[in-house]
């Protein structure tokens, strides 16, 4: 089985276990302030790391290319409270324009 299939099935199983677990345990199990603070930060660090890697990494090298311009435009769009599709499409158009014309 390929790595991709393992990832698809494995991550689907653990995602469901996460969801089902929450519905099935007594509330006090997870009701700890420190735990909640850390858990609020977990998505922030993981998703930030993904933004960094997907913007700058080319295999194991760090590069500056059209993607950075696209992400920059996305951040500006978010700053102006643009809806999600506008954020994504404006990033794509910017990146594509630079890639195709330079």
């Amino acid at each position: 089985m390929s790595q991709i299939w393992i990832a698809v099935i494995g991550a689907s199983v653990t995602a469901f276990l996460n969801k089902y677990f929450g519905h099935s345990v007594p509330e006090k199990w997870l009701d700890k302030p420190r735990f909640k603070r850390i858990n609020t930060l977990v998505p922030i660090v993981l998703l930030s790391a993904l933004v960094g890697v997907q913007t700058f990494a080319d295999k194991k090298e760090l590069v500056i290319d059209q993607r950075l311009a696209g992400v920059g435009v996305a951040l500006i769009a978010l700053k102006f409270k643009a809806p999600f599709p506008v954020v994504v499409v404006s990033a794509a158009i910017t990146s594509a324009a630079i890639y195709n014309w330079f």
Binding site: R34, L46, K60, V88
Partner: protein
């Protein structure tokens, strides 16, 4: 239960959230195919995993050349907040057996958010189910369309898909950054991942940022 978005404000909120979020599914579908997943593999993630951030993480890490283990670990940690949502929803929904399995599957950011906006348990229930089922339907539909669209495209850079994916992540993080500490933690996460990228196998720079969450979250 009949759904009536014209006269019922809960239904209206639930369905507009479901449709808007569903549209992101197209970005995910495109991201999956761009990362080297087949259309079926991409659609299965939406059908089975069904949690946006975790799904993007799986295709992001595998696309960057990471292994299945780091993809699964990252997705699992990202999905842990759904356990907390389940904890919140369980006393309101009071479901068992197959119904609990179905309720668990649609326990995500949006269904919980719409539920918590309501005033009483009956409305919370209604908000939860209509949003959850609505997002499920639209998210899967648009995933398929996005995957189909992206697979018709050759080089993803020509269409800007290489920037659309990190832009989609920015859209997921943005609403979570509510104070200065969270901005600093976000910047620390980016820096950490970039420093490790040339040094470690793909995937490691991402999953290890959890240490930062523990360090920053340990003390109040």
């Amino acid at each position: 239960m009949s759904i009536n978005p014209r006269s019922n404000p809960i239904d209206r909120t639930a369905l507009s959230v479901a449709f808007t979020v569903g549209l992101y599914g197209a970005a995910f579908g495109a991201a999956g195919v761009t990362a080297g997943f087949s259309i079926i593999q991409t659609c299965l993630l939406s059908l089975l995993l069904f949690s946006g951030a975790s799904q993007f993480a799986v295709v992001g890490i595998m696309g960057a050349g990471g292994g299945a283990i780091s993809a699964i670990a990252t997705a699992t940690l990202l999905g842990f907040r759904n356990a907390l949502y389940g904890l919140q929803m369980a006393p309101i929904l009071k479901v068992k057996g197959i119904k609990r399995i179905l309720a668990a599957q649609i326990t995500i950011d949006e269904s919980t958010a719409v539920a918590t906006l309501q005033e009483n348990d009956a409305d919370r229930k209604r908000g939860f189910y209509i949003t959850g089922i609505g997002v499920y339907v639209f998210w899967n539909l648009f995933t398929f369309l996005g995957a189909l669209g992206a697979s018709a495209i050759g080089d993803p850079s020509v269409w800007g898909l290489d920037a659309a994916v990190p832009a989609a992540f920015c859209g997921l993080i943005w609403p979570r950054l509510k104070n200065k500490t969270q901005f600093i933690v976000s910047a620390a996460g980016i820096s950490w991942a970039l420093i490790l990228t040339p040094l470690t196998p793909a995937g490691v720079p991402i999953i290890t940022t959890v240490l930062l969450a523990i360090i920053f979250g340990w003390k109040k």
